[in-house]
Chain length 309, copies 2
Amino acid sequence: MVATDKFKKTPETATFNLSAYLKERQQLCETALDQAIPIVYPEKIYEAMRYSLLAGGKRVRPILCLATCEMTGGTIEMAMPTACALEMIHTMSLIHDDLPAMDNDDYRRGKLTNHKVYGEDIAILAGDGLLAYAFEFVATQTPQNVPRDRVLQVVARLGRALGAAGLVGGQVVDLECEGKLDTSLETLNFIHNHKTAALLEACVVCGGILTGVSPEDLQRLTRYAQNIGLAFQIVDDILDITATQEQLGKTAGKDLKAQKVTYPSLWGIEESRSKAQQLVEAACAELEPFGELAQPLKAIAHFITSRNH
Amino acid sequence: MVATDKFKKTPETATFNLSAYLKERQQLCETALDQAIPIVYPEKIYEAMRYSLLAGGKRVRPILCLATCEMTGGTIEMAMPTACALEMIHTMSLIHDDLPAMDNDDYRRGKLTNHKVYGEDIAILAGDGLLAYAFEFVATQTPQNVPRDRVLQVVARLGRALGAAGLVGGQVVDLECEGKLDTSLETLNFIHNHKTAALLEACVVCGGILTGVSPEDLQRLTRYAQNIGLAFQIVDDILDITATQEQLGKTAGKDLKAQKVTYPSLWGIEESRSKAQQLVEAACAELEPFGELAQPLKAIAHFITSRNH
C-alpha cells in the first residue's frame, strides 16, 4: 500500500501525500466495516461474512466513494454507509466468484477463500447475507442530512452495478468465454465493463449522488470512473502475468491457466501499459472543473496504473 | 389454487370469494413479474432468472403485500414494485437453497430446479441477480406518490428479512440441525421464524409502511404476520408427510429423509393442525380494528391452514 517512485514524480500531485491519504482512509473504512457487522447468533454466518469482509483489501472502492463525496462538497460521514455497502457488495462478488462452481479458487487476499474455511453452503449464504446487509445498511445508516431521494438513488445504483446489468452479467459472459481463445475485444470489453468497471463507477457516482451534483458533473464522474475502471482491469491482467502469487495475495497466472483472453494477450504487455496510462490521463482530465479538490481522485487514478500488486 | 370446502364454510368470510380474489391478484402479479425482467444480452442469465421467477408459485407473498397496502388505504400500484421484489427475494432464496451444496433438490414447483437446467454457476448468479434487482426495482419503480422515506424503510425491511437476521440466518441453523434428532423446539422456532416467517412478515409490514400506518397498526400487522408465518410452516411440515410429490410440485418426504425435526415430529399431526388453527385465529383477531377491509387478509390466513398443496 505504498505509492511507487514513478507516482511520486508526477508533478501535479507533488504536494499531495497519497500514501498517507490512503492509509488514513483505509483505517477509517476498516473501523467502519468492523463495527458494521457484530457477531450474534447464529455466530457462524456472521463470522463467515466478517472473515472475507475484513480480510484486508486495499479498500479502493469505499475510498473512491468517500473521496468523490468530499470532492463534491459532502462529508465522510454522509458517504461512509454507502462506502461500506460497496465493499460488502465487492466482497460478496469475490466469495461467490471463488466457489468451486465458478472460478474454483483456494486463495484470495493471501488467505484461504471463504468456502475453503466455512464450506460451500455457508460461503453462498455469507455472500447472500453481505448483499442483503449492504442495502439495509445504506437505507438505515445514511445520516438524515442526506435527502431520502438521494439515498434511494444510491440503492438503485448499487442494485444495477451488482445485478445482471452489472457484475452478475459480466461474470456470466466471463464464464462463457473460458477456454475460448477467439474471444473478441468487444466481448472482453463487455466482461470488464460489467465485472469491474460497473462497481467502480457506482463507487464514484454514488459519492456524487449523495451530495446532489448536477447531471453534467455526474456525467464527468461517470467518464472518470469508466476510464479508471478499464485501466484497473488492464493493470490487473498485466499483474496476473508479471507478478508473483506472494505479491498478489491470490493465485497468479490463473488467466493463462484458464485460457482466458486478456488485454495483454491481445495487445502485448507494453501496449497494454500504454493504454492504461492514456485512460488514466483521460480520467483526470474529466476532473479539471473540480480544481484543487480533485487531487485525491487524480492521485488514486495514477496509483491504479502504478501499483504492483 | 382453489379454496377448500372447509374454508368456504367459515361464516365470517361467507360473502367473500377468496378463490376469485386470489386468482385475480395472482394474474396481476404474473403480469408484473413477467414485465419486470425483459431478456437482453447476456440472455442466459435473464432466462435463468425468469425460469424460476415465472415458475408459477401461488404468489402468496406479493398478494399479502398488495392486500395489506389496500387494507391500510393504499393502492395496488403503490405496492406492486415491492410485491414483485418480495417474490424475487423468495425465488432467489429457493434457487440457492436447492443447490447441491445446500438442500440438493432436483424439483421445485413441479419443474427441474434452476441448477439442474442452467448449471450451478448460473443458478448462483441468477439468485444474486434477482436479489440485486429486487432492491433496484423497489427503488426505481415505486410511484412518486409514495414518500421516499417510506420506500427507504421498505428497502431496509427487505434487506433485514433476507439477510443473516432473516432468511440467511434461518437457513444456516437449518443446515446445522440436519441429521440432529435432538433439535429443541426453541431452535426449530428460530429456524422457521427466520426462514419462513421473516419474509412473510416483511410482505405484510412493507404493505403498511408504504401507506404510512401508525406504529400501533404496524405492531398489529407484525403480529398477524408472525402468526400466519408460523402456521404456514406447520402446515408445510404436515404436507411434507401427508401429501404426494404430485400435489406439492416438489420432492415430498424430504424432511424425514434429511432427518429433520419438524412440528409434526414433536407434536404429532393432529396437535400440529390444532396449533396452526389457533395461530390463524390469533392472527385474524389482530385485524379487528380494520373492519370490513380486513376480509382478504383474514381469508388468506384461513386459506393457509386449509391448503392441501
